[in-house]
């Protein structure tokens, strides 16, 4: 390694020291999935014995499971022995040397989003010779959070500093054996975020993974755990609008939310991972398990997601509505273009009396893409007067894309009220002609109609996020109508 590169590494590691990471040596675990790999990961992260045991147990369960096939997506078989499960930061030889080596389409997108040049380099994975000035931002905001007792740190750090909290809640919402990919994640998860909001505390700011430099390196098996103690509130933002390149094709994250009595978590995601080129080559497989548990009475979880990236998206942010009068909400925009495939939706499991859920799903399919909504509303026998309202709209652009809706409803309590509305429409020539005859270009007109279609979801997003999301849809749709 050149001296210059070493200096960079030092700088990067410095950031981690001040921030979330401890010292990381430049080392890879050899590809392959076995107990050795898991022990290696755990050791590298200096984890306590109980966590290693937890991982190993998950691995055993993973071995007994088979890959699910029910989603409406197609992809070549994944060889789990080919994947490297512990990837230290990439060496500079493997990275593009400059932006000249990066897919020009990607750069064009960065331009349009107005991302500064230096940030573009980081996002595109170019070996950078500057370090973000994020340390100071990061420190100030951490101090502010500490004042009210909010914990927001990396998962690894939480394991070290708050083991009792992690132990108490980890895997209680998404058990390792929940599904094939959650078992895999539990065995080999790399890092992620941990948030704890103490009793009767309103988190003084929106928590964003943006604040965390290392969000980009948490890699393919991210683990997030957010606990909102009684009477607390937090709004958490995940992801960013810039398309992020990642050499890891398979992403299998797990997100667990725990909401106690009278508490609320608002979880917003804008996901724009590399969808692959126009032929779908090189895109990310995003197989995520996201679930929240409304444990206490009157607790509330609100999921809002805008998904435009990934070659394949397979995720169902869900709510277990255990508490009486607990509330679950799911607002989603999923846009697919070119050869992207998305099978996404939610599960609302009503257990508590008077529990209430709302599902608003907007799917937009362009190009030759496949976009499926899959939703489950289950009302248990104990859920007197449970209510659900589902609205599921699909918008088709062009005539080669497809939209699918798979709603499942299981109701074991006769007092429940469940409503389901669904629509599929095409952008009409009338609408386009109307707007264009007013002086609006075809592209702007399409954006306007699509954004109007998504409005009910966008209004749930925090302000700046909503503005970015609108821009993002426009960019993702470019060239989708000839």
């Amino acid at each position: 390694m050149s001296t210059n590169a070493k200096e960079i590494d030092n700088l990067v590691n410095q950031t981690y020291e001040a921030g979330f990471y401890t010292d990381i040596e430049q080392e890879f675990a050899p590809p392959g999935l076995n107990e050795e790999t898991i022990r290696f990961i755990s050791k590298k992260k200096s984890e306590p014995e109980w966590l290693l045991e937890w991982r190993l147990k998950a691995y055993k369960q993973f071995n007994e499971m088979t890959e699910p096939k029910w989603a409406h997506v197609e992809y070549p078989p994944i060889d789990f022995q080919e994947i490297s499960y512990y990837a230290a930061p990439k060496s500079d030889e493997d990275r593009p040397k400059s932006l000249d080596e990066v897919d020009p389409k990607l750069l064009e997108t960065y331009e349009k989003l107005g991302i500064p040049l230096e940030e573009q380099k980081v996002l595109a994975g170019v070996a950078v010779d500057i370090v973000f000035d994020s340390v100071s931002v990061h420190t100030t905001f951490r101090e502010k959070l500490a004042e009210v007792g909010v914990i927001f740190c990396s998962f690894s750090e939480a394991v070290k500093d708050h083991p009792e909290l992690v132990k108490k809640y980890l895997g209680t919402v998404v058990p390792a054996r929940d599904n094939f990919y959650s078992a895999l994640n539990s065995a080999v998860f790399s890092d992620g975020s941990f948030v704890y909001i103490p009793k009767n505390t309103r988190c003084p700011m929106e928590l964003s993974t943006y604040f965390r430099m290392n969000a980009m390196n948490t890699g393919q098996f991210e683990r997030t755990l957010i606990v909102a103690d009684e009477g607390s509130y937090v709004s958490y933002l995940e992801g960013c609008t810039a398309p992020m390149r990642d050499e890891n094709q398979l992403h299998a994250a797990v997100v667990e939310l725990v909401v106690l009595k009278d508490a609320e978590i608002k979880y917003s995601t804008v996901q724009n991972w590399y969808p692959g080129d126009e032929e779908g080559k090189g895109g990310i497989y995003n197989f995520v398990t996201k679930r929240g548990d409304c444990r206490g009475d009157r607790s509330k979880i609100s999921w809002t997601q805008v998904e435009t990236g990934s070659a394949i998206t397979w995720k169902y942010p869900s709510c277990i509505l255990r508490g009486e009068n607990s509330i679950g909400e799911f607002y989603s925009v999923a846009l697919t273009n070119n050869l992207q495939q998305a099978d996404t939706g939610t599960k609302m499991v009503h257990l508590g009396k008077g529990s209430n859920s709302t599902i608003i799903s907007k799917g937009i399919s362009a190009g030759r893409s496949q976009n499926a909504y899959r939703g489950l509303v289950r009302v248990g026998g104990s859920a007197e007067n449970a209510r659900n309202y589902t609205q599921c709209d699909s918008l088709l652009l062009g005539d080669k894309s497809a939209a699918h809706t798979f709603p499942y409803i299981e109701c074991k309590n006769p007092s429940a009220q469940i409503e389901h509305e669904a629509s599929t429409s095409k952008i009409s020539d009338d609408q386009l002609f109307y707007l264009r005859s007013r002086g609006i270009s075809q592209e702007d007109a399409i954006n306007m109609i699509v954004n109007g279609f998504c409005k009910e979801v966008f209004k749930e997003l925090p302000m700046e996020f909503a503005v970015e999301a609108q821009k993002l849809l426009g960019i993702s749709l470019e060239g989708s109508i000839g």
């Binding site: 009409s428 020539d429 009338d430 609408q431 002609f433 109307y434 707007l435 264009r436 005859s437 007013r438 002086g439 609006i440 270009s441 075809q442 702007d444 306007m448 109609i449 954004n451 109007g452 279609f453 998504c454 409005k455 009910e456």
Partner: protein
């Protein structure tokens, strides 16, 4: 301003307009009347540039420039406006937001500076009064949940903000009660001046009592078969179209 000569237009291989000649000078208002299926709406759509119409022969020249190869938004930029017979609903899109995008689209096309939000709102406030549009409609979704009268008034309001040089009103009177008709006509009349021209397409003479035209043309079977002044409209009102179309056939 607008010169249409020998215009032939096909839709799905069927000829709908068969040699239209029409000259509209600056400041003039022309009414186009005619029975159902005579090609009136086709003419308005062809002027505005809707897809699906094939111009097989003839010219549409606007201020010396051929419109035929221009996109609808480019025609708007040149100063053409079409008030729709059935204004389109667009869910989730704010009425004023749409209008601002339209005005700035046109200004961009002309190489003029875009209006800021403040400038734009000022403009809107002044126009909304002039047209008598209920201000609460401004921030509703485009035409969504509007009554028939509100939709038409909204078209005229858009017209007043976009200030085109040529406005084509496609059966703006259809579905309006007499009060709404008066209000819409008032709005149009306020916008009439020496530099702006109107082509008013209608079935009924009634509208022309309020928007008094300089010329009245009768369109039948894809051709203008008679041109006169406003008295022609009165004649049509009492006699219908048959005496003209019959006459045309016997002459042929």
């Amino acid at each position: 301003m607008l010169e249409i000569s020998d215009l032939h237009v096909d839709v799905d291989g069927k000829e709908i307009l068969s040699g239209i000649n029409l000259t509209v000078k600056a400041g003039e208002t022309h009414a186009i009347m005619g029975p159902n299926g005579s090609g009136k709406s086709t003419l308005s759509h062809v002027i505005a540039g809707r897809e699906g119409y094939t111009v097989s022969r003839g010219k549409i020249v606007f201020n010396g420039k051929s419109l035929i190869d221009l996109e609808p938004e480019e025609r708007a930029g040149e100063g053409v406006f079409l008030a729709f017979q059935y204004p389109i609903e667009i869910a989730g899109v704010n009425n004023v937001y749409m209008l601002k995008a339209a005005l700035n689209g046109i200004r961009n096309y002309r190489g003029e500076k875009e209006l800021t939000s403040v400038e734009f709102l000022k403009l809107v406030k002044s126009k909304v009064k002039a047209v008598g549009l209920d201000e609460s409609l401004l921030n509703r979704q485009v035409n969504s949940g509007f009554s028939g009268g509100e939709k038409k008034r909204n078209e005229i309001f858009q017209l007043s903000v976009l200030e085109p040089m040529l406005a084509v009103l496609d059966e703006t009177d259809s579905g309006l009660d007499i009060d709404a008709l008066k209000a819409v006509s008032d709005g149009v009349n306020k916008l009439r001046d020496a530099s702006r021209s109107f082509v008013v397409i209608t079935h009924y003479q009634r509208l022309l009592d309020y928007i008094v035209p300089d010329y009245v043309h009768v369109l039948a079977n894809g051709k203008i078969i008679k041109t006169g002044d406003k008295e022609l409209a009165h004649a049509l009102e009492s006699k219908g179209y048959d005496w003209l179309t019959d006459g045309q056939e016997s002459a042929a």
